[in-house]
Symmetry: C2
Subunit: 155 residues, 2 copies
Amino acid sequence: MNDTDTIEEITPAEWEVMRIIWTLGQASAHQVIDLLQQKRDWSDSTIKTLLGRLVKKGLLETSKDGRSFIYKPLISETAAMNGTASQLFSHLCAMKRGKTLVELIETLPLSRGDIEKLQAALAKKLPDAPEMVDCDCLPGGMQEADCNCKEDQHD
Amino acid sequence: MNDTDTIEEITPAEWEVMRIIWTLGQASAHQVIDLLQQKRDWSDSTIKTLLGRLVKKGLLETSKDGRSFIYKPLISETAAMNGTASQLFSHLCAMKRGKTLVELIETLPLSRGDIEKLQAALAKKLPDAPEMVDCDCLPGGMQEADCNCKEDQHD
DNA sequence: GCACGTCGTTTACAGTTGTCAACGACAAAG
DNA sequence: CTTTGTCGTTGACAACTGTAAACGACGTGC
């Protein structure tokens, strides 16, 4: 299963649809509509459009089940999450990514198991970690002089 | 400094512009154009449009400096990063966020200092962490029965 | 004072996204 | 066989994005 490949762009509205299908494993349009309408005030049509677009994007596949279709995800939720997250972090200054991760960890509810896994990942990474990562915000070689990111790296 | 307030949406192209200004602290349109064009094949006009939109969105402010403007950020890079990251994670299944964080930690280059701060944040969080966080993918109370997220919480 | 750059603003336009209503196919009901 | 649902598809349209040309203001040089 491909993991960090570039993912077809998933829009926020599409995420809502995908989450339902990922969570159920697969679903009929009907199911998706029922569930989503408990949360979003969207018309049937809207949701059908989203399903259609997701199929066209290659994120869902359909198989006929008598009268209606069954929608199945073509990428795993994990792959989509990783792709999207990496993409987001690519916008951030390399020097400040750590800070954002700290913020996320402080803010998000995490299970004990999650925390332990995170600790393990960090422990493994620490020995080879560089003293400092370079700022990649500016093109050219002017980082040294003009970048004011450094303050963020050790405060 | 506001931190996790909802941020005016920043598009990818706008991020590029903001990064330069954040990194320099402030900048003239001219500087932004020069620097960005070392990286992106965008015309002057395009970059000017982006600057204009960012001002209109309230993400930049201008002050006159003789002939030209100086653009300054109205939100901190950290605030923007946190806002965007939280928003992204809100799309993800609550049960799978930990997994995504692990992936990010494994993938991103992090400095020793970053790692230590992350470890500290985790250590502080561990004592009160719940055994498991609930899946919030489906509306209604059907989580128990049909959610197949659980496998992800402990594998 | 007049032409010329330099700047920011306005306008433009195609593509994507959010949201729907309407349409056409086809199976179930009568 | 006709009616009535139920489904997926098409068409629509406004808002937002990516990209850029053209325009108008204003200070500078001759």
